[in-house]
């Protein structure tokens, strides 16, 4: 850049672990930061995880520390339920249009929960990947930031909506809130728009929609979480019983030219973590991991070796070709064991598809993307975290810190 940047503000788009990290690093370096998030709470996909590999600690712990840092830092402005709807200008001088979705609850909310008590209808809970339902006035999850309720749009204009409004002692329910938009002047943009799980319905051979006991890895995280649909017990969705035989299928969509051509990098370790969930809860349960190759790079090798030492985990080198429905509706995994050349058909109580990571949001026109939809950084616009390609949490934080550094340099030059 030849001219001095007109705005020294850094805009961070996406409030997951990458966006939070980038916003904090930039703000703690002295830059003004605006952090916008589409969902009602920060935390993104990480908040929906039960535990991290390889240390098996809870993500809420790290998120809580970051939320404290945000609260204490006057340079960060956070907007939830907000999305970028337009961006123009050039490095050092961007004009960004942000559109907000009504939450129907003002910052006066004390998170007392009276509105949820007053609500009578239920809506699918997006935090639990729609595996459970939640009252139409709800807290996104127990570790939400901001700690503020949301009223579902479906009850606005109904007697139930009025009852919810009347129940709020501090008058924080505003059913007249409308979608709004405003513009920001920023010097640099960090895209931390994250990822979404690859749609398992596209993997028609695995019959996710037909067989109840075929679930995805992100759903497994919710089943294992204390605040998930089963309160932390891994149970078969079909009958609520404890599974005795569990299959974990790697590369469900990843490394496949018909689906995601790239390796999603996290699934091998995530599945080993899932094996650990099952083995911890049910010491008698058998877990089979179907894999093409195990990709546990550098420091993660130790976690792999630990899983390898567990006699209850069987490793089957094979990409299962299909899942069939057994006589009792149970999933039967079929394929060829490539080490023994056996053609197998193994029945399970629960099958977990390690679905891959797909780029989440489409950055607005102008942002450069690679052939898979991941952000390519350029002058003034930087990708952070999984918006740039599949990464695990620690690598996302590294990537976000690097993006923050570049953004800070861009607005100061």
């Amino acid at each position: 850049m030849s001219d001095k940047p007109k705005s020294q503000t850094v805009l961070v788009v996406g409030g997951g672990i990458g966006g939070i990290s980038a916003a904090l690093e930039a703000a703690e370096c002295g830059s003004e930061v605006v952090l916008i998030e589409k969902a009602p709470t920060l935390g993104g996909r990480v908040a929906a995880l039960n535990r991290y590999f390889p240390k098996m600690c809870h993500p809420t712990c790290g998120l809580e520390i970051n939320y404290q840092r945000i609260k204490k830092n006057p340079r960060i402005k956070v907007f939830t339920m907000a999305e970028v709807s337009g961006i123009s200008g050039a490095a050092g001088d961007y004009t960004v249009t942000v559109t907000t979705t009504p939450r129907f609850v003002t910052p006066a909310c004390t998170a007392c929960g009276d509105c949820a008590t007053a609500a009578t209808s239920e809506v699918a809970d997006p935090f639990n990947y729609n595996l459970s339902k939640v009252k139409a006035a709800y807290l996104p999850h127990s570790m939400a930031f901001p700690m503020r309720y949301i009223v579902d749009a479906s009850v606005v204009g109904t007697p139930e909506g009025q009852a919810i409004k009347a129940a709020c002692k501090v008058g924080a329910v505003d059913l007249d809130e409308k979608s709004d938009s405003f513009t920001l002047s920023v010097g640099a943009v960090v895209w931390a728009t994250g990822w979404r799980p690859y749609d398992p319905n596209k993997l028609t051979m695995y019959r996710y929609d037909e067989i109840a006991d075929v679930i995805t890895n992100v759903e497994m995280e919710r089943l294992a979480s204390h605040d998930g649909p089963t309160h932390g017990k891994v149970l078969r969705p079909s009958n609520g019983e404890a599974p005795k035989k569990v299959a974990l299928i790697q590369c469900a969509g990843s490394r496949d030219l018909n689906h995601l051509a790239y390796c999603s990098r996290i699934c091998c370790l995530a599945s080993m973590k899932h094996a650990a969930y099952v083995r911890e809860q049910y010491p008698e349960a058998e877990v089979d991991i179907y894999y093409i190759d195990i990709r546990a790079h550098d420091k993660l090798e130790a976690f792999y070796r630990k899983a390898k030492a567990d006699q209850g985990i069987r490793w089957i080198k094979s990409k299962p070709s299909r899942i069939e429905k057994g006589p009792n509706g149970e999933p039967v995994v079929c394929g060829e064991n490539t080490l023994s050349r056996d053609v197998y058909a193994n029945a399970y109580d629960l099958v977990v598809l390690a679905t891959g990571m797909q780029a989440s949001a489409q950055p607005p026109a102008g942002a450069e993307m690679d052939e898979y939809g991941f952000v390519v950084s350029e002058e003034g616009v930087f990708g952070a975290g999984v918006a740039t390609g599949p990464l695990d949490v620690s690598m996302s934080v590294q990537s976000a810190t690097a993006a923050a550094l570049r953004a800070v340099q861009a607005v100061r030059s």
Partner: protein, 203 residues
Amino acid sequence: MTISPTPKRAYDLNFARYVYENIDGGERLRMCMQCGACSGSCPIGKQMDHGPRKLFMMIRAGMKEAVLTSNTIWNCVSCYNCVVRCPRKVPITYILHDLAYLAVQEGYEPAKKADNARFAKAFWWSAAKYGRTDERLVTGKYYFSFGIGEGIKRGLGNQAIALNMIKTKRMHLGMPHAIKAKDELQKILAKAAEIQERHGKGA
């Protein structure tokens, strides 16, 4: 007749190279990552001695003799399950069929005995000669490829089916159906053979 190079030592890559460059779909064979989705998808995978995945590894290992005498190349039923599921988009069915053709050209014993090869020859004979296939001619040609005695035995064995087919007008009596411009067809086929020759695939 030897068309493809015969490996002379262990880890001789010449046969693999020949397959990559000359077999239909062979150029994508390099992409195979040995995941087993093909052999697992195959409806008759258990009957195959090796299955496509292992066969492809054998090609890479230069095991020409074992590849071209394998029953895998003859058991493919062209259902294309493996092709739609292959994560590397390897056209497995094409490769197996072209390897079978190579085995016929090189005169391997299993290829001479393979039912599908006999049937394919009978089918082609009728199609090339009349421009159409005639049930009686194709089955007759196929049955008698096993010898006169066996041909009569097989023919008589299927008498009841043949009579029922005639009754329900699924098979006609009289002259074989043929296209009008048979000589035009012959010219087309000659041209196709010439193109094939020019691409160095042998007759």
